[in-house]
């Protein structure tokens, strides 16, 4: 310490900062900043566009997948429906040709009622965009009808067998 030069600089420190920068410096700073602001704006817009298009593509893809799965579900359901209605028609035919018309009629009335219920369900199913709940109910309806018809066919067959037995008895 005690250095003359160091002391002189310390004592006159403020006076050493006497140079003034030119006006250009601030102008350039401002220009650079608005430029970077502009680029920031451009990037923001670009980012938003990218985001929107990404969301659009994802949603679109998911909707398409959903649609695919719905149509797959529908066609599967129609296959099941076709199988059961064929089976029902076959059983009805068997009962109608069995000859026990008075007994069959009561059953066929019951089946008819279930048929109507089914027609109603099918309408609801179509108006409710293939709801899984309704299609389950429809399949249960079909299964119930098959079950009833199967029992009816069995009863008719049993009756036939009894008659045959009785006839054999008489012949003997």
């Amino acid at each position: 310490m005690g250095d003359q030069l160091e002391k002189f600089i310390l004592d006159n420190r403020q006076e050493f900062d006497s140079e003034v920068p030119s006006e250009k410096v601030w102008q350039h700073i401002q220009q650079q900043q608005t430029k970077s602001d502009k680029w920031l704006g451009v990037w923001k817009v670009a980012a938003v566009i990218l985001l929107i298009s990404t969301v659009y593509l994802i949603v679109d893809k998911q909707l398409a997948e959903q649609k695919d799965s719905t149509t797959a579900m529908e066609s599967e359901f129609y296959q099941v429906e076709q199988y059961y209605t064929q089976l029902i028609a076959q059983r009805k035919q068997e009962i109608a040709t069995s000859g026990q018309s008075s007994l069959s009629r009561e059953f066929l009335v019951e089946i008819e009622r279930l048929d109507q219920m089914y027609a109603q369900l099918k309408q609801t199913y179509k108006s409710q965009n293939s709801s899984e709940l309704i299609s389950d109910m429809m399949i249960k309806n079909l299964q119930l009808r098959i079950e009833i018809l199967n029992k009816q066919v069995k009863i008719l067959n049993d009756l036939k067998n009894q008659e045959n037995e009785a006839n054999k008895h008489i012949e003997i």
């Binding site: 005690g2 250095d3 003359q4 030069l5 160091e6 002189f8 600089i9 006159n12 420190r13 006076e15 050493f16 900062d17 006497s18 140079e19 003034v20 920068p21 030119s22 250009k24 410096v25 601030w26 350039h28 700073i29 401002q30 650079q32 900043q33 970077s36």
Partner: protein, 184 residues
């Protein structure tokens, strides 16, 4: 006292953080002159110092979020200016900062009493005449008030190199001042 000086422009700085251009201009008005002189003492060339000033303020405004109020804003800003100035100095010439030769150091090791008629203008001119390696160490120590530990950090040199460069630089400065007195 410290906490007061730190918070003198707290409101302005807060507005700068939010990108307020009026506040940025006020900060520029407050600090640009001192910062320019700091840059000029290291760069010695007006255009170079102005470029440094511009870069430093842009960088400060961009990175103002990283300013923690553990130092004054001026000290934080000055550190940016100095870093930019040193980078600019290294870029402008390929010669290494610390490689300059100097005449026998011991010859001048007898204090500064002999130099008379010191004026601000004379000292300023002599500083600008210093070889740039010396100029950076001398100006950081004598004018910006950094110690050798801090200078070694800023310049990426050892503390002892900083000390010896400073001593040599100051001797060179005295030489230049004596010459000025004799012939100027």
């Amino acid at each position: 006292m410290n906490s007061q000086t730190i918070n003198i422009h707290a409101g302005l700085i807060e507005r700068c953080r939010n990108g307020d251009q009026v506040a940025q201009y006020e900060i520029y008005q407050l600090y640009s002159k001192a910062m320019y002189n700091t840059a000029l003492r290291i760069c010695a060339v007006q255009e170079e110092a102005e470029d440094v000033l511009q870069e430093a303020f842009l960088s400060a405004f961009r990175n103002i979020a990283s300013y923690r109020e553990d130092s004054t804003f001026g000290a934080w800003l000055k550190r940016i200016v100095i870093n930019k100035a040193i980078t600019s100095l290294r870029r402008s010439e390929k010669e290494a900062l610390m490689m300059e030769e100097v005449e026998d150091v011991e010859k001048y090791d007898d204090g500064f009493e002999s130099v008379s008629g010191l004026t601000v203008e004379r000292v300023k001119a002599a500083v600008l005449e210093l070889p740039k390696g010396f100029r950076s160490v001398v100006s950081l120590y004598l004018f910006e008030g950094y110690d050798h530990k801090e200078i070694s950090d800023i310049l990426g040199i050892t503390e002892s190199t900083s000390k010896s460069q400073f001593k040599r630089g100051k001797d060179k400065l005295r030489q230049l001042l004596e010459k000025e007195v004799k012939y100027g």
